[in-house]
Amino acid sequence: MENSVYENLPEISDKSAKTRKAVSLAVYIAAGVILSLIFLFPIIFMLATSTKSESAYAASAGRITMFLPDFANLGEAAKNYGNVFTDYGIWRYALNSLTYAAIAIVLNVLINGLAGYVMAKMDFPGKSFLSFMIIFLIVVPVETSIIPLYSIVKIMLGLKEGASVIGVILPAAISIFNIFLFSQFFESIPQEYEEAARIDGANTLVVFFRIILPLSKPIVATVAVFCFIGVWNDYIWPSMILPYNQEGEWPLYPIQAALTTIQSIQGITTGEIMASLIVTSIPIFIIYVLAQKYIVQGFGTAGLKM
C-alpha cells in the first residue's frame, strides 16, 4: 500500500505542475493580448476610421465602434481611399518618393560600395588619411548641420526649382557609415576569388561588379533597405528645399512632405486623413515584412556605431 502511494506521488505533482504551467501560460497570453491592444489601439483606430464617413465617425464617438470598421457601408471606405488617390493625388507624391528612393539606393550602393572596396582591397598613398577621416566622421557627434547644408544646396550649388530634386537625392546617396560597413564586409571575401578573375584579365571595375557585388548580396540588401526607409520617411529636409508655387501646388514633394499639405486642404474628412496616413505607411510595412532578415542584420551592425 505504502509503496503504491509513493509511486503515485510523482504523477500527482506532475499533474499539478502541468495545471500550474497552463495557468501561468494563460495569464501570460492574457497579459500579452492586453499589452498588444494598448500598443495597437492608435493603429486600429486609424484603420477603422479610414473606412468611415464624417457622420459615421462622429456617431461612433465614445463607443467601441470607434475601433471597428464601418462594415455596413464599405462603400465609404472605397470612397475615402478613392478620394485620396484622385482628388488629393497621393499617387503622384508616392511616385515621387519611390523615384527619389530608387535613385538614392542605386547611387548609395555604387558610390559607397566602390569607396568601401577601395578601402578594403586596394593600397594607395593617402589611405591612412582617408581611414582616419572615415572613423572621425563616424565618431564625431554633429547635432544639426541642416541649416549649413541648406545654405550649401541653395546658395553655393544654386539648386533651385526643379533642380532642388538633386538636393533631395545626393545627400541621401552618401553615407560614411555605409562605406565602413561595405569595407568591413569586403575584407571578409577571400582574395582567391579576385585573383582568379584577374588572371582571366578582368580589370578592377569588372572584378567589383562581377565578383564582389554578387558575393555581397546581404550587405547590399541591408544598405538598400535602410536607404529606402530613410528616404521614404524623411520629412523635414525635402519640405525645406523643394519649391512650391503660387497656386499652392507641390508637384515635386515626396509623400511625407505632401501629407502636411493634404491635411490642410479645406473640407478633408477625418476618414480621408486616416486613409492618406495608411497609404503612406503601407510601403514601409511591406519592406519590413519582406526584408526582416536584413533589417535585423542592420540592428546588429548598429551596435558597431558606438
Partner: protein, 325 residues
C-alpha cells in the same frame, strides 16, 4: 561662400597630399612595400564620387556650422558675411536670461528628455523581458509591440493629432466623455502638451530598443540562469544578478542613442502644435531661426552650443556607466 568652400577644399587636398607623400616616403624606407601608380590612379578615380559628395554634404556643413556661429550670416545676403566674434553667443545667453523663446526651448527639451528617456527605455526593457519567453506565441506579441516603429514620425504626429483632437469626437476626449470628463485641448494646454508628446514618442520608438534589448538578452548564457536557480535565486534576484549585468553594454548603447535622439526632437512639435512657447524645442528653435527667419549665423551658434552640451552629457553617461573591470 564659394570662395570659402574652395579654400577649405584646397586645405583638405593639401593635407591629403601631405599624408600621401608621407606614405610614399615610408614605403620607400621599408623597401619591401611599393605602391603601383596604376592601382593608385584607379583607387583615386573610384573614390572620387564618394569623396566629392562627403566633402559637400558632410564635412563642409560641419565646418560651416562651426564657422557661421561667429558671423552675422543672413541667408539672403550670402555676399556680406562678416566676423562678429562671440556676439551670437552673447545674444543666446541674453535671450536665456530674459526668458525669451530659447529659454522655453531649453526647458521643454529638458522636460522631454527627462520624460521620454526613462519611459522609452523602461518600456523597451519591460517588453523585451516579456517577449523573451520560450513560448512560440510571444513572437506575435513582438510584432505587435514593434508595429509603431514602422510608422514614420510625421504619420505618427498626424495620427495622434486626431487622437488628441480638442473636439468632442476626438478619440481621447470622447472616451473620457463616457466618464463625464469635459473635452480638453490637450496640445494647446501648456500642462498637458509636452506629456502627450512624450507618451506618443515613447510609444512610437520603444519597439526599436526592444529589439536591441532582445539581441542583448540572447547573448546571455543560459548556464548562468541555471547556476542562479541552483543557488535558489528568485526571479528578481536572477534579474539583478544575471540579466542586468549581462545587459549593461546594451543598456549604455541604448541610453546614449535614445538620449541623443530625444535631444534632437523636432518633427512632433513642428507638426502638432507649431512654433509655440509651451512646445518649442531647441532643434525647433534652431530650425526657425536659421530657416524661417534666415539668421544662419545665430542659428549655427545655437547648434554649436547644443553639440557641446549634448556631447558633454554623452561623455559623462559613458564614463558613469562604463563597465567596472
Amino acid at each position: 561662400m564659394t570662395g570659402s568652400a574652395l579654400i577649405i577644399a584646397a586645405v583638405f587636398i593639401a593635407i591629403f597630399v601631405a599624408f600621401a607623400v608621407y606614405d610614399v616616403l615610408i614605403a620607400k624606407k621599408r623597401s619591401h612595400k611599393k605602391y603601383k601608380t596604376g592601382t593608385a590612379v584607379t583607387a583615386y578615380l573610384m573614390l572620387l564620387p564618394a569623396v566629392v559628395l562627403a566633402f559637400l554634404f558632410i564635412l563642409l556643413p560641419i565646418l560651416y556650422s562651426l564657422g557661421y556661429a561667429f558671423t552675422d550670416y543672413y541667408l539672403l545676403q550670402p555676399n556680406s558675411i562678416s566676423f562678429i566674434g562671440f556676439d551670437n553667443f552673447k545674444q543666446v545667453f541674453e535671450e536665456l536670461a530674459k526668458g525669451g523663446t530659447i529659454y522655453h526651448a531649453l526647458i521643454n527639451t529638458a522636460i522631454f528628455v527627462v520624460g521620454v528617456v526613462p519611459l522609452q527605455i523602461g518600456l523597451a526593457l519591460g517588453l523585451a523581458l516579456f517577449v523573451n519567453k520560450p513560448f512560440k506565441g510571444s513572437k506575435i506579441f513582438k510584432v505587435c509591440f514593434f508595429a509603431p516603429v514602422v510608422i514614420s514620425l510625421s504619420v505618427t504626429s498626424f495620427l495622434w493629432l486626431q487622437i488628441l483632437s480638442p473636439s468632442e469626437t476626438g478619440l481621447l476626449n470622447s472616451l473620457l466623455g463616457v466618464f463625464g470628463v469635459a473635452p480638453h485641448d490637450w496640445l494647446r494646454d501648456p500642462v498637458t502638451a509636452m506629456p502627450c508628446i512624450i507618451v506618443l514618442s515613447a510609444w512610437q520608438g520603444c519597439g526599436y530598443q526592444m529589439l536591441i534589448f532582445l539581441s542583448g538578452l540572447s547573448n546571455i548564457q543560459k548556464s548562468l540562469y541555471e547556476a542562479a536557480a541552483l543557488d535558489g535565486a528568485g526571479a528578481w534576484h536572477k534579474f539583478t544578478a544575471v540579466t542586468w549585468p549581462g545587459l549593461r553594454s546594451t543598456f549604455v548603447y541604448i541610453l546614449i542613442t535614445v538620449f541623443i535622439g530625444a535631444c534632437r526632437i523636432l518633427t512632433q512639435p513642428m507638426l502638432m502644435t507649431g512654433y509655440q512657447n509651451h512646445t518649442v524645442t531647441l532643434s525647433y528653435y534652431m530650425y526657425q531661426q536659421g530657416y524661417t527667419y534666415r539668421w544662419v549665423g545665430y542659428s549655427s551658434a545655437v547648434a554649436l552650443l547644443m553639440t557641446i552640451v549634448i556631447g558633454t552629457i554623452t561623455l559623462i553617461q559613458r564614463r558613469a556607466f562604463r563597465e567596472k573591470n
